[in-house]
């Protein structure tokens, strides 16, 4: 045997190089050698260090930024009584998409999500949610989020991750939470912090974590802001927003931290008080001028309130501070694309490519921008690459769908037909592809097929106006006025300002009056 490294140092090194599995394995070996019985022996400082290191490594393996995580289950969404006003005034709520006062793109130009908002350029865990209006919509998986929503957040991702980690450990979990003597740990602040993070992130046992945090904050005589933030986080997970708000506010009084501002704003957003959240962010900006996360928070809220121009303003502000901010670049890029400036959008997406983003979505966007900015040489190669990078069938379906648009643009109807069919092969629920396929079938004169496709599309995506309107037009042409009227009404509900729909309804009303 040659030189052998001190195992604890090696474990530390693994940890710092983010090789957590190796670190954990090594720690497990060391803990087996030096006896430990649920809790580290105070006589053996090394075993204690190993214990903490293992807890931290296990935490890091599953750690996700708590600020970004927000998964709402169906129950939370539909039975939500946290909003202050059930019928809020316009412009003060995130639930109503809000009328488009600021001249953002209309749904005729920019596609909308199920919740009635224009699609965004960036997908975060919380943008996936978007509050659906009815139970039926809630149960159906939204178009942008490919995993179906769990029934409640306590049966969601966290738990599934937890069970997996249990299965991988044949000897049971690392720390048996029910046998922990929390009071004892609360008296050792350094140990308690690592333990708390382990319980909160790895075990997802929020109640135990809360108990530990409460004991610890008591032990620190309510002078440690960190514990207050942690209690707030626990309350937030338990959906006790008012209590969480109190904790965060008290923590802010002691020590102003950017994170605390972000958590508090998250509470306000959950309480459906975007204006309060905006004010809070602005307060935070006074303390931390030019802080990117705060600016980005403001931009997100404006975007969710459908105030696209203000959102763009703040995203630009973000870019002034941090010119590699992917979210800001992507959002500004998509804004430009949907306000008829694909060539500028192209520059933003190219910037992303330069920065090393390399995925299906980016190449798809590049392809679309190239096509609409008349840079035809790059279009097809971009789409080819997007297809080869697609990770799942849904992504491939979206790429084929967009390729169909290119085919329509160059007038190759056969290719377009094939593309939309391929989109449907990859994702049988692609409502937009059904609609466009119907339009193409109609051009060939296949009325019945077109009607069937449109019906499928409108049942899949009742929030889109196109299938309703097309169905109304087709029905009107073949003389089925009653159906046409019903569909036109639906179209008007989805997109009130659509001129053609209004004309059609007017015509139909005249017809009915003549009868």
């Amino acid at each position: 045997m040659g030189w052998e490294m001190e195992p604890l140092l090696l474990a530390w090194s693994y940890f710092r190089r983010r090789k957590f599995q190796l670190c954990v394995d090594l720690c497990t070996q060391m803990l087996e050698k030096s006896p430990y019985d649920q809790e580290p022996d105070p006589e053996l400082p090394i075993s204690q260090a190993v214990w903490i290191l293992k807890a931290r490594a296990l935490t890091e393996m599953v750690y996700v930024d708590e600020i970004d995580v927000d998964q709402e289950g169906i129950a939370e969404m539909m039975l939500d009584e946290n909003a202050i006003a059930q019928v809020p005034r316009p412009g003060t709520s995130l639930k109503l998409p809000g009328t488009n006062q600021t001249g953002g793109p209309s749904p005729a130009v920019r596609p909308i999500t199920q919740a009635g908002r224009p699609i965004t350029g960036f997908l975060r865990p919380s943008t996936q949610s978007g509050r659906p209006g009815t139970m039926e919509q809630a149960i159906r998986a939204p178009r942008t989020a490919y995993t179906a929503r769990p029934i409640t957040s306590s049966s969601g991702r966290y738990v599934r991750l937890g069970t997996a980690s249990m299965l991988t450990n044949p000897d049971g979990p690392f720390i048996n939470l029910s046998r922990l003597n929390l009071t004892k740990y609360a008296q050792k602040p350094k140990l308690a912090k690592a333990l708390f993070e382990y319980i909160f992130h790895h075990e997802n046992d929020v109640k135990t974590a809360l108990d530990l945090a409460a004991l610890s904050t008591e032990h620190s005589q309510y002078k440690d802001w960190w514990w207050k933030v942690q209690i707030g986080k626990c309350y937030y997970r338990l959906r006790m927003y008012r209590e969480a708000e109190k904790q965060f506010k008290s923590a802010l009084k002691q020590q102003e931290m950017v994170d605390t501002f972000l958590y508090l704003a998250k509470v306000y957003i959950s309480l459906d008080q975007p204006v309060t959240a905006l004010n809070l962010f602005k307060q935070g900006l006074d303390k931390f001028p030019g802080e990117v996360t705060l600016l980005c928070g403001i931009a997100r809220i404006y975007e969710e309130m459908n105030n696209i121009s203000s959102a763009a303003k703040y995203y630009k502000e973000v870019l002034k501070q941090d010119n590699t901010h992917i979210e800001a670049i992507a959002c500004i890029g998509s804004n430009h694309f949907y306000s008829d400036q694909p060539e500028i959008a192209l520059r933003f997406y190219r910037r992303l490519l330069q920065m090393g983003v390399y995925n299906c979505q980016l190449f798809n966007n590049l392809g679309l921008c190239c096509f609409y900015a008349q840079q035809y040489d790059m279009t097809l190669t971009s789409f080819e690459r997007a297809l080869s990078l697609a990770e799942n069938e849904e992504e491939a379906a979206d790429v084929w769908y967009n390729l169909g648009h290119v085919a329509v643009g160059i007038g190759d109807m056969n290719l377009a037909l094939q593309c939309f069919i391929l989109a449907l092969v990859n994702n049988n629920n692609h409502a937009e592809a059904y609609n466009n396929l119907a339009v193409l079938e109609m051009r060939k004169g296949h009325v019945e097929q077109a009607r069937a496709l449109l019906q499928t599309a409108s049942s899949l995506a009742p929030h889109m106006y196109e299938p309703h309107f097309n169905f109304a037009t087709v029905s009107d042409k073949i003389g089925d006025l009653q159906r046409s009227y019903v569909a036109a009404q639906k179209s008007a509900a989805a997109f009130p300002d659509h001129v053609d729909t209004q004309l059609l309804i007017k015509q139909l009303k005249q017809h009915f009056a003549m009868l």
Partner: protein
């Protein structure tokens, strides 16, 4: 500026018919830019995938065990 205006005058035909026929055409759904995924989301999805894979592997292993014992 006043002179310029007198030089260029728009031409509006005062005779003849002007007819505009507005045919309602069917609308295509618009091309869709795909949103990029945030790092957190990617990590979550990766972890979820890994978790599902481990569960599946365990289940497969259990099944094989059962088949051997039978």
């Amino acid at each position: 500026m006043a002179e310029m205006k007198s030089v260029f005058r728009e031409v509006l035909p005062k005779q003849g018919q002007l007819s505009v026929e507005d045919i309602t055409t069917m609308v295509l759904c618009k091309p869709k830019l795909l949103p990029l995924k945030s790092l957190t989301l990617e990590k979550l999805e990766k972890m979820q995938q890994a978790a599902q894979d481990t569960i599946r592997q365990q289940e497969m292993a259990e099944k094989e065990q059962q088949q051997i014992t039978h």
